[in-house]
C-alpha cells in the first residue's frame, strides 16, 4: 500500500513539473512576458526595475529557475486589477468555489445513486425510462444554457429564488460559508443544481448499468436464497459491489466540477475562482491567469492522487493483494 502511494506521488510530482514547464513556456517563451507580468500602465522606470527583478533579461533556463523558485515560495506576481498578490486573490475566492462544488457533488450523489439504483432495478418501467431520457438531456445540454433557463424560470418567471450572487456568509472555522443561513442557501440552490446536473446524469447512467449488471450475478441470487429483504440485497450487496467504479468517477469528476464551476459562477455571478479567471481573462489581468493555472494544476494532481489512494482502500481485493505482493 505504501509502495502504491509513493509511486503515485512520484508520478504526480513529474506531472507538476511538466505542467509548470508548459505554463512557463506559454507565458515566457510564446507570450510576451513583459506584457503578461508587468502592468501595462507602469512607467518606463518601473518597467525596467521589474524586468530586472523578474530576471526577464536573463537566459531562458535561468528565468525558468527564478519562476520555479518564486512559484514555490508563493510569489506569483501581483494582480493588475486588484493590486494584491495574485495568489492571495485566488485563495480568497477558493472557499466560494469549493462550497459550490461540494454542494453540487452532494446533490448529484444524493440524487444520482438512488435514481440509478431504481432505474437499474426496473429498467422497463416508465419511471426508469423517464429518468434515462432526463439523464441524456442532462449531460448533452450545455451547462450555461441550463443555467440561463433556471434563472429564467425560477428567478425571473416564478421569482422564488435569487438570480445571482452569493448570499450572506457566516464564518465556519475561519472560512466564510453560506450554507449556514437560509438566505445563503437560497442563493446556493440554483447554481448548485446547475453545476450538479452533468454529474447527476453521469451518475444515474453509471449506477443504472452497474446495477443491471450486478443483479445478474450469482451472489444476488444467493442473497435472495438466504431470504434477505430486497432492500438489503440492493442496498448492501449490490451497492457495495458497484461503489468502486462509482466512487472513482465521483472523485475524478470532482476536478471537472471545479472546472465547470467557471461557467456556473459566471452565469450566477458567484464570487469564486471561476468567475475570477473569466474576469481576469477579459481584462487581461495576466498574473492572476498564470497563478490560477498553476494552482488548478496542483489541485488536479492532488485530486487524482486522492482518488488513486481511495480506490485501493475501497476494493479489498486490490488492498490485500498489494499487501501480499
Amino acid at each position: 500500500m505504501l509502495a502504491v502511494i509513493v509511486r503515485r506521488l512520484l508520478q504526480s510530482v513529474l506531472v507538476l513539473f511538466l505542467m509548470s514547464l508548459l505554463v512557463f513556456v506559454g507565458v515566457y517563451a510564446i507570450g510576451n512576458p513583459v506584457d503578461i507580468l508587468i502592468n501595462p500602465q507602469a512607467d518606463q522606470a518601473d518597467i525596467a526595475r521589474t524586468i530586472a527583478a523578474l530576471g526577464l533579461d536573463q537566459p531562458l533556463w535561468q528565468q525558468y529557475l527564478i519562476f520555479l523558485r518564486q512559484a514555490l515560495s508563493g510569489d506569483l506576481g501581483k494582480s493588475f486589477a486588484y493590486n494584491i498578490p495574485a495568489i492571495q486573490l485566488i485563495l480568497e475566492r477558493m472557499p466560494a468555489t469549493l462550497e459550490l462544488a461540494l454542494a453540487a457533488t452532494t446533490l448529484a450523489v444524493a440524487l444520482g445513486i438512488p435514481l440509478g439504483l431504481w432505474a437499474g432495478l426496473k429498467p422497463e418501467s416508465w419511471s426508469a425510462r423517464l429518468i434515462m431520457t432526463g439523464s441524456i438531456l442532462g449531460f448533452s445540454l450545455p451547462t450555461f444554457w441550463v443555467g440561463l433557463m433556471l434563472i429564467m424560470v425560477f428567478a425571473i418567471g416564478l421569482g422564488w429564488l435569487p438570480a445571482s450572487g452569493r448570499g450572506p456568509t457566516t464564518e465556519l472555522l475561519g472560512i466564510p460559508v453560506s450554507f449556514l443561513s437560509w438566505e445563503g442557501i437560497r442563493h446556493l440552490i440554483l447554481p448548485a443544481i446547475n453545476l450538479a446536473l452533468f454529474k447527476l446524469s453521469l451518475l444515474i447512467r453509471l449506477t443504472r448499468s452497474g446495477t443491471r449488471e450486478a443483479l445478474l450475478q450469482d451472489y444476488v441470487k444467493f442473497a435472495r436464497a438466504k431470504g434477505l429483504s430486497e432492500a438489503r440485497v440492493l442496498g448492501v450487496h449490490v451497492l457495495k459491489n458497484i461503489m468502486v467504479p462509482i466512487v472513482t468517477v465521483i472523485g475524478l469528476e470532482f476536478g471537472s466540477v471545479i472546472a465547470f464551476a467557471i461557467v456556473t459562477e459566471s452565469i450566477f455571478a458567484w464570487p469564486g475562482m471561476g468567475k475570477l479567471i473569466i474576469d481576469s481573462i477579459n481584462v487581461l489581468d495576466r498574473p492572476v491567469i498564470v497563478a490560477y493555472l498553476l494552482i488548478i494544476v496542483v489541485l488536479f494532481v492532488l485530486i487524482n492522487l486522492a482518488v488513486d489512494i481511495a480506490y485501493s482502500l475501497l476494493d479489498p481485493r486490490v488492498r490485500i493483494d498489494e499487501a501480499k505482493g
Binding site: Q217, D218, Y219, K221, F222, A223, R224, A225, K226, G227, L228, S229, R232, V236, H237, K240, N241, V244, D315, P316, R317, I320
Partner: protein, 326 residues
C-alpha cells in the same frame, strides 16, 4: 408413510422470450422424504437447476412458474405472499449453488454474509449470531473458524468457500436443502470430502436433500432416490440402486454407459449420439427420439409417465423392460 418434506406436483416453468416460449420445466413431479437424499440428474439445459429455482421461487424474468403445486411439509408454497416466501427461503429451505466464488459476495466479509442469514429470520443479537456462525463453520470441518469469519471470500480456497456456503445453508436448520452442483467446481479430492460430510449432516439433522448434478457417479455414492431429467421432463424416477442396475429409459441407459469407469479398458468410450435439443424448437413427441436407438413412429406422440415396475416411473413408449431385475 409420514408426510414428505417436499411434494412437487406437475411443476411447469416457462420462459417467455422474444423468440418464443422455452419450456424449461415441464410436468415435473416428485417427493422427498425427511432424512433422504434425492438425486436430480441431467445434462445442462435439462431443467434440473431451474426445478430447484422454481421450488425456491427464484426464477428470474422472463421466466416464471406457470403451473403446479409445491408443498413443503403440507404447506402450499405457491399460495404464499412474497414476504412469506422470503421467510421460508434461507430458513426452512436452503440452497447451495455451484460456484462459491460467484455466490459469495466478494466485497463482504464471511461473518457479514453469515450473520445476515441468521438475522434475516430471527431477532438474534450480533454476538449470539457470530457464535452460531462460528459453530456452523466448525461443524462443516473448517479449521480455525474465528479467523475465517473475518476473511473475505477470495482469501479462502475453493473447497473452504463451498464449506462456508454449506454452513450458511445449515445455519437455520432447514427442513429441505437444495444443492445445485455444489462440487462441480471443486477438486476431486475435496469433492469426496464434501459429499461425505453432506451425507452425514443430512442424516444427523433429518433434513431432506435434493442433489442436482450431471455426474452419475456422485449420485451413485450418496443418493437414495434418483430422478433423471431430459429437456425439461422427468424421464425416469426410482431408487438409486434399481435405476442404476436396471435403467428403464434409453437415455438413462446411455448416461450410465458413458461413465468411463464402466467400459472395459481399451474399448471405445460409449456416447449418446446427437446433441441435446434446443428447448425453443421442441415439437410434440418424445424429446429424446432423435438420439434414441429404439425410436419409432409411436414416439412422435408425447409419452406420459408410466409405472411398468413397482416403485419406478418412466416416460417412454419403449422402456427397457428386458433388462429389468426383480
Amino acid at each position: 408413510m409420514s408426510e414428505p418434506t417436499l411434494a412437487v406436483e406437475n411443476l411447469r416453468t416457462h420462459f417467455f422470450t422474444r423468440q418464443g416460449v422455452v419450456k424449461a420445466v415441464e410436468d415435473v413431479s416428485f417427493c422427498v422424504a425427511p432424512g433422504t437424499i434425492l438425486g436430480l440428474v441431467g445434462e445442462s439445459g435439462s431443467g434440473k437447476s431451474m426445478t430447484g429455482y422454481s421450488i425456491m421461487d427464484l426464477v428470474d424474468p422472463p421466466g416464471r412458474v406457470v403451473a403446479g403445486r409445491i408443498r413443503l411439509r403440507g404447506q402450499d408454497l405457491r399460495a404464499l405472499t412474497p414476504k412469506q416466501m422470503r421467510d421460508i427461503r434461507g430458513n426452512r429451505i436452503a440452497m447451495i449453488f455451484q460456484d462459491p466464488m460467484m455466490t459469495l459476495n466478494p466485497v463482504l466479509r464471511v461473518d457479514t454474509q453469515m450473520v445476515e442469514a441468521i438475522r434475516a429470520h430471527a431477532d438474534t443479537g450480533r454476538t449470539a449470531a457470530l457464535a452460531r456462525a462460528r459453530d456452523a463453520l466448525a461443524r462443516v470441518g473448517i479449521p480455525a473458524p474465528q479467523e475465517r469469519l473475518s476473511a473475505y471470500p477470495h482469501q479462502l480456497s475453493g473447497g473452504m468457500r463451498q464449506r462456508v456456503c454449506i454452513a450458511i445453508a445449515l445455519l437455520n436448520r432447514p427442513d429441505l436443502i437444495i444443492a445445485d452442483e455444489p462440487t462441480t467446481a471443486l477438486d476431486v479430492t475435496i469433492q469426496g470430502q464434501i459429499l461425505f460430510e453432506m451425507q452425514k449432516l443430512v442424516r444427523d439433522s433429518g433434513a431432506a436433500l435434493i442433489w442436482i448434478t450431471h455426474d452419475l457417479s456422485v449420485i451413485a455414492g450418496m443418493a437414495d432416490e434418483i430422478c433423471v431429467m431430459y429437456a425439461g421432463h422427468i424421464v425416469e424416477h426410482g431408487s438409486v440402486d434399481a435405476v442404476l442396475d436396471a435403467p428403464l429409459h434409453p437415455y438413462t441407459r446411455g448416461l450410465i454407459d458413458s461413465v468411463p469407469g464402466r467400459s472395459r479398458k481399451g474399448a471405445p468410450l460409449k456416447q449418446i449420439p446427437g446433441m441435446t435439443p434446443s428447448l425453443l424448437e421442441l415439437g410434440p413427441g418424445c424429446a429424446f427420439r432423435e438420439r434414441c436407438a429404439y425410436a419409432d413412429a409411436a414416439c412422435r406422440h408425447d409419452p406420459a409417465l408410466s409405472a411398468p415396475v413397482a416403485g419406478r416411473q418412466v416416460r417412454c413408449f419403449h422402456p427397457l423392460l428386458q433388462r429389468t431385475a426383480t
